[in-house]
Symmetry: C2
Subunit: 893 residues, 2 copies
């Protein structure tokens, strides 16, 4: 027989069966409770039921054989540690049942507190606490929570009953209700539950316990949890653990408190204790943001704030601060902790790696290196590449005129402008229509996740820096102003009153997540500046990184921006962007309308100097850095107007009849333009277009390299190649043009001619194509379209559903599909290099700025990735991390 | 030093350096002249310059070192054999210079005859022949031909001068011109050449010889030859050989003749000597079809025909007939021969495998087996699979009313209807617009090739069964009526007078290539019937073949047709075809318009019995043969009207507003429908549609299998799968539906659920998909679209140009691209079978009926191909040939 499987891990009393490294099995909370216990930090005793049980549970809502025996043994240990017994009518041990997944999903899953109370044990609690009010308050909270979480009763029914009781007693706060009122409420609550569920509220503590455990496991599969996992890319099969733990009470009197804190400031990263607490409250009260909490550290207190913990309970503050330092030293990272003070005794309830803004992540990483807490490589490995995006977003122009309506808490930094919406649904709907929104809520709840994700920014009227809105927004890298009490938000009437104004749905506002300001209208933003920490950090990134990062840019301005961000060349210059406006467009259209080769050549001759000047601008800005120029790619119909007005205007400018324009537009129209007459197919039909472009590139390169004395090596890229013959034919044409430029200018210049690998057939025949191509650039946008058979323009109809129904792990246009599309990239890289040793390989699809895709490119041996200017630092960081990961993998071997 | 390379091969005088198997090096003509010479058949002595020299020549129009020495040696041998000397003023040896490629390209390349004549040698020729008229006629022909072929002078200039001379002398025929006139013409011709080319006509025979050789090599690259090779898929690098041969004269008097013949009837295959000749003529006169020739065999003579060779020259006929039998016995195949009789001496000029119609190919193959000349496998290997198409074309309905306008020669069998056009250009243009045409010409020339390929049929006013039109049409498998003298065709006025009627361009006619009838209007056609030979032949095919052939069919009628052609199942039943008309379409549109699931289900419920009945029909016809049913594939917008009238009508029927219809149509429209919301993507969004279809399939199968007591195993195919999750989800749905059908009907049935591999990603992840799919069917139409990134609907803009410019060897939608698309098919087959041993694999794209693609499928290990009913015999023959090729390859190893 196999050894009995261990489903339950005990902790508490300075010992633990688990440890921090067992997160996959015990979840983050359970593993860290065990670790803290082993470290000698006082935690309420308890035990963790493993994530394996969760997976088992999802199949049939039953538990594996033997688990209950292990629970009994663990529960006996808790009873022993805490000196109380479960279901003891005299001095009952009460339990909390909490979820704890591998990574934190704040507020996403269910919790039941005060478990073990019934009409018998309540008496024991009253006796022991000497506080009937507290005891009945605990009881009514338990009944309410359990009925809601385990038995599925709408919590509003209980809230209504609570409100009624308060009205009847003429009081305003829950805390003003008497023990009798609360006792009455317990009865009312139980009656509500019975009425709704047709089942009596369970009296047996054991039944309560398994009800709680089952509900927590079950909550892994509720919609909001599924939605959260999708947004945060958490696999479903990870499951959650369940932590059953002895209750300690922060709400048992004025010598009690509960709080949450970060070992450093999670918004800025500053190395100062940062946290909030509430006297005489349960932990959920702080997180839910219903009461505005007090700060922990006196230095953090602002004018008008309630006193700090440091002031109110100085001894306990010191104890807590020493635990903070101990935890940081042990975990070597910023921690997010929860604690409860019960009658002047400090209990730690949780520690975990603290979520932080990108700014904080950077500052922590840089400062911890300086503090010699971590190494540079750890610093680089630790900052999630994707979050840098937050730092690279624009901020408000300090010169812009601002009408500040109010000020809230700077909960998640950044600058956001958008139209006011009052519901998550509206935020989703409006954003689907391409409208920018700011989601304005009294407070947010887990049900709002989708809306928060869709909105440009989040503004709440209530709650602190650790409120749901603040925590989730920071996790999303979304700008958030929280707890802005000056706002009178009514979701019902879709209005928000502030500073004497009434804003309606659709009105523009701007919020500053770094200052907390709420402003009227659409305030102008400016591009981000890189802070000192950013510079230091990126220097380390560059020290480690060994894959190049280029940018996609067509204008000297974009190129300059990308250079500021550290781009090492241009990986994709889309020449057609140079034809899309003004006079150029007119000339280009004349070329399209031309009846013969001579007419087309005449128009192209006029485009030549314009295009040459564009290239000169780019070459100048980029100095000697490599630039890949892609020849004309889109189908010609993208350059002609499809509406009557546009056609009339074009007819007027061209001095031809509207019918002629219409006929041309019609003749150019295609059923499937994605798969139509574009890219090198145009080059084959109209070689004169590519000839002009090649001439412009080479002349520009000669001009600039002479003036700037820089060695410019243009990389000419022929797009949409599917057969080697296309490339060999167009390459021969290009070389002919280049040689005649050399002859005319009496000079020579190095150059390369290569192709984009964006057609599946090109990837499949890369060996043949490499005979002609001097470099490959993977155009993974089109490659994804054709490999999946998805039109990017149309897939919106089913792609979100596909991601939701898990047909696809994620949108393949955002994250490179390594299984399918990646297979083609690997094949082409391998076969290309087999034919042309050391061939230069890069990627220029949008995946070039997505961290996981960048890492894939590194593993595939690409020389560079190319992405939009703002994503250059992200790509660089991901590339450095890929290097570190490869080193680690090598070490393992 | 390497041994000297041999560039020149001698033949003649009962000996030869080459042999028949050296076609690649010597071309067909040269190799067979050598072979005949070795067999003791009398041929004019000569030598062949190899195809390798052609390849060398194309690079710089020069010859390899040493070639000229070898020519000199070979020429000396010719002089010795023939007893004459080149450039001998007393008795000059004259030469012909002819092309000879690996396979015959009739009339495509250049020839120069009578080479060696000049103002000195002409005297010797006059003396020796004793016929100044003949000598000068030879001389003027030579000057004309050489000036045109070698020096590029338009031959019309000479024709004009010839006409003038005839007018001046008041004669009508060339042959009526006197020696003096001809002598004068030689001078005039030379003057024309000098005027046009600014060069004197060369007098030196050696210069003439190399001029001729160079012109023939150069003619390999002229447009019409390139065009012919493209149509007939002949690689350019094969090159042509040049045959230099002593002239013998069929035009040296009334005891001279020249002719072409086939050892059997090339139209019917009957084992009877078949040929034509002209007394006192050169060979080109017969082939060009300018004089209507006489038949060779007396039995073939029709009333009013000139006497046969058998009658006119009985001794020579017997000699020729014995050579016919010798050649057939030696080559074991039907031969196409050319001969010349010079003063009662028979010279063989050429033998080669004879081109034949499909009917003749079949009859020859079957009868040669019966004659024990060849084996069954040789018979099966010999008939080109593609030509069976000719036999499978419809013929005219005997019951149809016919107005026969005239009767010509039944030059290439079949039935064709179309609109009259008078130029090749018009045939090409009209056919590009989708119009059926009959190309009507006085006579065709090699310049007409493209037009002949585009037209439905060819009709000529002049020329015999071996005229250019007849030979080319048979090669193309195109219906042709030749030499219809009753027609008065004027290409200039675009009219054709016949039987008192004047037909204009665009008028409909019908031609019967098997009877020679030309009929007014569009005569009704009927499907082909299989002849006895066809049945015998296909039996042999089936004996050899070990890959199955299925058909693509949706209706019981098509299925029946395919069964008659020998289909072994249905490989693709496209269920959407069942929704495209009448009441079904209305119901289907109601489903599309439905606002919710309930509405859709209500419509589907009404479609269920209709669909079930369709399937019952199919299952009944097919007995127990396997049937693969593909669930709904096209996007929904294909089912709604896009024009205003259609939308109004739909609104009326649906009883909704036109705007509602418009809005729905708009919401369904897509930028790239090929890559849009279709196939299994619809199944994921609207599972109820597939549910209905699966239910209909299974209920039909149960009903029919009960009644017919046949074991029906439906193969349910889910289209457009790109990820295994799509399939697993939809398969699970289908199984649920199937189980409920089983439960309701209290019975069970075997079934299979599989998928189409038509998305590149599906091929790349076939291993994963095979975990769920019980079979794969390769949808190579879509797979080709996506692998190449070509939209079939749009590629017409550039694909013909691509094939012309040799970017692609052929249209990949006609012939499977084995390099690219094939790679995906091989990969998927291998990875699919690695996961699911012996997995059933098939192909259902249109490539399933194309011989080369079928052979590829065989080599890839597919279990079956599926094609349209009319192509089933072609696929079967190709499959059998693939088996034979595999056996041969195995033997070689």
């Amino acid at each position: 027989m196999a050894p009995k499987q261990k489903y339950v891990y005990s902790f508490g009393g300075g010992k633990a069966e688990g440890r921090a490294s067992m997160k996959n099995l015990l979840g983050g909370k359970g593993a860290n409770l065990a670790e803290m216990s082993s470290l000698g930090i006082i935690v309420p005793s308890g035990f963790t039921i493993t994530t394996e049980v969760c997976t088992y549970f999802q199949k049939g809502h039953t538990y594996p054989i033997g688990m209950k025996d292990q629970v009994n043994i663990a529960l006996a240990k808790v009873e022993k540690d805490m000196g109380r017994k479960f279901n003891d009518p005299k001095d009952p041990l009460l339990l909390s049942v909490r979820s704890g997944a591998r990574i934190s999903m704040p507020g996403m899953m269910d919790t039941v507190l005060n478990l073990g109370l019934n009409d018998t044990t309540i008496k024991g609690l009253i006796d022991v606490s000497g506080d009937a009010r507290f005891a009945y308050d605990s009881y009514r909270r338990f009944v309410m929570m359990y009925s809601n979480v385990v038995m599925g009763v709408d919590s509003e029914l209980f809230e209504d009953a609570l409100e009624k009781e308060k009205e009847a007693n003429g009081v305003e706060l829950d805390t003003d209700l008497s023990a009798d009122s609360l006792k009455k409420l317990v009865k009312i609550f139980k009656a509500i539950t019975k009425r709704v569920t047709k089942k009596a509220f369970p009296e047996k503590p054991e039944e309560q316990l398994y009800g709680g455990i089952g509900a927590v496991f079950g909550s892994w599969m509720v919609d909001r949890a599924i939605s959260y996992r999708r947004i945060n890319r958490i696999p479903e099969d990870w499951g959650t653990a369940v932590n059953v733990q002895a209750m300690v009470f922060g709400n048992a009197g004025e010598d009690c408190a509960t709080g949450v804190a970060f070992t450093r400031d999670p918004a800025t990263g500053e190395n100062k204790f940062f946290g909030e607490f509430l006297i005489n409250a349960q932990g959920e009260d702080v997180v839910a943001g219903i009461r505005t909490p007090q700060v922990i550290r006196e230095g953090a207190r602002q004018k008008g704030d309630a006193p700090s913990l440091e002031k109110v309970m100085p001894k306990l503050y010191k104890e807590l601060d020493s635990i903070r330092l101990k935890l940081e030293k042990h975990y070597k990272d910023m921690q997010d902790i929860e604690f409860t003070i019960e009658h002047d005794k400090l209990w730690m309830l949780q520690t975990r790696t603290g979520k932080r803004t990108a700014e904080a992540a950077l500052r922590c990483a840089v400062e911890m290196v300086k503090e010699k807490l971590i190494s540079k490589t750890t610093a680089v490995a630790r900052v999630e590449a994707g979050v840098l995006d937050q730092l690279l977003h624009p901020s408000f122009d300090p010169k812009a005129k601002k009408v500040v309506l109010a000020k809230g808490l700077p909960a998640s930094p950044g600058a956001a402008t958008g139209m006011v919406v009052f519901t998550a649904e509206a935020a989703v709907e409006w954003s689907e229509k391409g409208k920018a929104t700011i989601l304005c809520r009294k407070e947010t709840s887990p049900e709002d996740i989708e809306g928060m994700n869709s909105a440009n920014g989040i503004l709440t009227g209530r709650g602190g820096m650790t409120s749901h809105a603040a925590v989730v927004a920071r996790g999303m890298g979304k700008c958030c102003v929280a707890g802005c009490g000056a706002l009178d938000i009514s979701a019902k009437s879709k209005t928000m009153k502030v500073a004497g104004k009434t804003l309606k749905e659709g009105d523009w506002i701007s919020i500053n997540g770094s200052s907390g300001e709420v402003m009227l209208g659409e305030v102008k933003t400016i591009p981000p500046k890189m802070s000192g920490n950013f510079g230091t950090f990126m220097k380390w990134v560059d020290e480690i990184r060994d894959m190049k990062v280029r940018t996609n840019a067509e204008t000297a301005r974009d190129a300059k921006q990308a250079l500021d961000f550290g781009a090492e060349g241009i990986g994709l210059c889309r020449t057609e962007h140079m034809f899309f406006e003004g006079e150029r467009l007119t000339i280009f259209r004349e070329m399209i309308m031309a009846k013969d080769l001579a007419g087309r050549k005449a128009a192209l001759k006029r485009l030549l100097p314009i295009q040459r000047k564009d290239f000169e601008g780019l070459f100048k800005v980029m100095g000697g850095l490599p630039i890949t120029v892609r020849l004309l790619d889109p189908p010609l119909h993208e350059f002609v107007p499809h509406d009557a007005a546009g056609q009339q205007e074009m007819a007027k400018i061209m001095k031809v009849s509207v019918n002629e324009i219409k006929a041309k537009v019609e003749s150019l129209s295609e059923f499937n333009p994605m798969l139509g007459h574009r890219g090198c197919r145009l080059g084959v039909t109209y070689p004169e277009i590519y000839d002009m472009q090649v001439q412009a590139i080479m002349e520009a390169a000669i001009n600039v390299s002479k003036k700037a004395k820089k060695n410019i090596i243009p990389e000419i890229m022929i797009p949409l190649v599917g057969t080697v013959k296309e490339l060999s034919m167009l390459k021969a044409n290009a070389i002919e043009v280049i040689n005649s430029v050399f002859k005319a200018r009496k000079t020579k210049l190095q150059y390369m001619i290569g192709t984009m690998i964006e057609i599946p057939r090109a990837a499949l025949t890369a060996g043949e194509i490499a005979e002609e191509a001097e470099f490959f650039s993977f155009g993974t946008n089109d490659l994804t379209q054709m490999t999946f058979g998805y039109s990017r323009d149309d897939a919106g109809v089913f792609l979100p559903e596909y991601v939701e129904k898990k047909v696809l792990p994620e949108d393949p246009f955002q994250v490179l599909d390594q299984t399918g599309v990646g297979q083609l990239v690997e094949l082409a890289a391998k076969n290309g290099r087999a034919v042309r040793k050391g061939m230069k390989l890069g990627i220029c699809g949008e995946h070039g700025g997505e961290p996981e895709s960048v890492k894939f490119c590194y593993r595939t041996g690409l020389d560079y990735v190319s992405c939009s200017p703002f994503r250059v630092p992200i790509a660089k960081l991901a590339a450095a991390q890929a290097t570190l990961e490869a080193r680690a993998a090598k070490k393992k071997k």
